[in-house]
């Protein structure tokens, strides 16, 4: 019986989350820059959580909540708002982690086109 030993073989490539402004020439370059900076942003958020620096993570979530939508990523804004709420309402760490995961998953999928 043939088994699939490589777990990545069955893994679907993640759906790209394309900016709703992908075809807007006025801010195309800005969106590209925003997407290009995303891995760094995600790293900062993860690091803040690992260090237990919830104040920094809250600031990060706040920035994403207010900013991402303007770059055509409303879904990221919504999930970032959930993360911010989880922190400000002092939810348990696992809930905050879950909320963080929801945002960063979307961030990882962000694409300018």
């Amino acid at each position: 019986m043939e088994t699939n030993l490589d777990p990545n073989l069955n893994k679907q490539p993640p759906n790209r989350l394309v900016s709703t402004y992908a075809n807007d020439p006025e801010i195309r370059d800005l969106v590209l820059e925003f997407v290009r900076e995303m891995p760094q942003r995600v790293r900062l958020a993860n690091e803040a959580f690992m260090r237990g620096d919830l104040l920094r993570l809250q600031f990060w979530a706040h920035q994403m909540k207010g900013g991402a939508g303007g770059y055509g990523f409303s879904e990221i804004s919504k999930k970032a708002a959930n993360l911010e709420t989880a922190i400000t309402t002092k939810q348990p760490a696992e809930k905050i982690f879950l909320a963080l995961l929801m945002v960063t998953n979307l961030c990882d999928r962000a694409s300018a086109d």
Binding site: E26, I27, H62, G66, G70
Partner: protein
Amino acid sequence: MNDTNLPTILLVDDSELIHRLLRVRLQNERFNLHSATSSVDGLLMANSIKPDVILLDIDMPKMDGFEFITRLKSDPETQEISVIFVSSANDPGIRVRGLDLGAVDFIAKPFDIVELKARLRAALKTQNLIRILAQKAQIDGLSGLWNRSYFNKRLESEFEGSGRYKTPLSLVLGDIDFFKLTNDRYGHLFGDMVIERFSNILSGGRLCDIACRWGGEEFAIILPQTTMFQAFDVTERFRAQLANVVWPEHPGLVITASFGVCDIENSELPPNPTNLFLSAEKAMYRAKEAGKNRVESFLKIVDATK
């Protein structure tokens, strides 16, 4: 570079992402955009640049948008600035609170840029109308000059500026001679024409001078950065211009005015707007007593009594 003729927008938001976005999104609009990334900096900038409209975030550290607008609206220097909240807060209670505190509009983040531009344009238009109305309320209907209430405020502020920057400030009071007689003999319509003509002469002087109708046939001109001696020359020109007007309705008629001039340096002590006014008024009465159609400075009175 900023175009000083264009309206000014100040964006106060702690998100660099928003600043970056709006700098690009609004780059082709006909206004100057200034940025502050904290509410504290925003208040300082609002005071110094006096923007037409502030786009204000609510959720900011140290001082949130509500405290910002409360401070802004309690300062006479900044209370007329229009504020539009731009926030991701969805709670209607938050929107209502913002509007109750004096905001003119509320835009939800993430915003639609076309809507944001349209709301900005609407706020600028309203702001402009308010400014025109406020200005009209301070203009005398007949003469087209600033009215007495504006004069009082403006004299106060010019006096303060003069003290701060150590610059001279003069005040001229003028009164049309025999105006009641003119009215009685030639009618009030002609009297109005005299007021209008005299007002044209007074407002046709230097651009920096502020000509006001004090009331009836009395006028006041504030001359910033002008010594009494310079003001005397300016006033002498006003006097001569009026005396030389030819009145086609009444050929041969000569209408004149008497003037009193004073500056802060020479006014009665302690120096304040009231004493500057009283000193100029005394000089004007002296001009009346001395035969009318003349300019007297307050210094001359002091010298004469020595």
